[in-house]
Symmetry: C2
Subunit: 207 residues, 2 copies
DNA sequence: CTACCCATCACCCGAAACAGTGATTCTTAC
DNA sequence: GTAAGAATCACTGTTTCGGGTGATGGGTAG
């Protein structure tokens, strides 16, 4: 018997999912909350196996609540819920310990598969969520300034810790040229020093 | 009907999975390969919906094959297989476009759930694999030198692009002190400049 | 053909980073 | 109570970075 708890600030969603699950004999509805605080309140004296959690809520949002819950109750599995495709938040919520993610309008079968998988300690992403993540990555890439092949080359060598003179020697250039590329990188990516350059590059998967 | 293809260099595994799946009426066994080359050969004139792929194989390994397959046939979903817990390779394979991961000794139910989920475009991780990933992360963290609170603080500010004098002003320290912390960071993390420091920090989730 | 971008090279200069060395205080652990 | 490490500060160099400015040649698209 899997004990399920839900946190969502939309009563409609709570009711909808409740009705989808009420005839499942191995799933027990143990409670619900409409904000982070009452969710945490519930867990003081009660528990659950799987928590369905909305991503956006007034006050503390799902991303933060997820981190707090996982900190206090590491054994509780969290399954994220969202109505729309929020790649960035999905990513953050996974980093905060969620075990999976589905859309609120997913089918009954998908919902139940997800709950079972998560309860077994598995990780489950619905297909639409996977697409959202991909689209988010593509989207962030289109917003990136285009780097020339030489610039990418120099960027990679900088990330590996080579200095301008070393890079120059390595790819047979004048150190002035390498310096030019380096300055162009800083300008194009709108950062002001090596630290920001590398951080930006890693975060945007340029390396 | 889900068309399943398997790539594994162990005949025992191929046979085992074949027998597990042969009575499933919505799963069709379309072929098998014992190395990357013959897998690629199969896909020249044939196709499949889901490919079960071993992580370690002679010649081109699963990680690489996964990248090649996804490049040539983006519509084919790849489900990773491994006998042991290889956190690092699992991570790499996911980065190369795999849709999920299970252990070879997983139950029939889990195998079938995984194939269905992946075929729907979802992402599925078996619980043991999730544990492997977690353990891998913990393991890599234990291998990390311990940074003091001050050092972490300085590290974060460096990553945000502040210079030593700016950091000194921001947290009310002498720039000499900040410089000391910075040098200790370089020494502890065994890197030789800011670029390597930030790259290392991001990769090891110190930021 | 000409305007534009890429790639190359050059120089100056101040600021920042990096290397080495050493010192003091304070807490924490044995 | 003392040994160890954290946190603080100090001085001196050398190297690298980053800003500014500008030049040349090659390819390409209008």
């Amino acid at each position: 018997m899997i004990r399920v708890f839900i946190v969502d600030d939309h009563p409609v969603v709570i009711e909808g999912i409740h009705s989808l699950l009420q005839n499942e004999k191995d799933i027990a509805w143990v409670g619900q909350a409409m904000n982070a605080a009452s969710c945490l309140g519930f867990f003081v004296n009660n528990t659950a196996d799987v928590v369905l959690m909305d991503i956006s809520m007034p006050g503390m949002d799902g991303v933060e609540l997820c981190a707090v819950m996982k900190e206090k109750y590491p054994g509780v599995f969290i399954l994220g819920l969202s109505t729309f495709n929020q790649g960035l938040y999905i990513k953050k919520m996974m980093e905060n310990g969620a075990s999976g993610y589905i859309l609120k309008n997913s089918s009954k079968e998908e919902l139940i598969t997800a709950i079972h998988s998560v309860n077994d300690g598995s990780i489950f992403f619905s297909g639409e969520v996977g697409q959202a993540l991909e689209e988010y990555q593509k989207y962030s890439k289109t917003k990136l300034p285009l780097l020339t092949p030489r610039e990418k080359e120099v960027l990679e060598l900088i990330a590996e810790g080579y200095t301008n003179p070393q890079i120059a020697e390595k790819i047979f250039l004048s150190q002035f040229t390498v310096d030019s590329h380096r300055k162009n990188l800083l300008a194009k990516l709108n950062v002001k020093n090596t630290a920001m350059l590398i951080k930006f590059a890693v975060e945007n998967k340029l390396l």
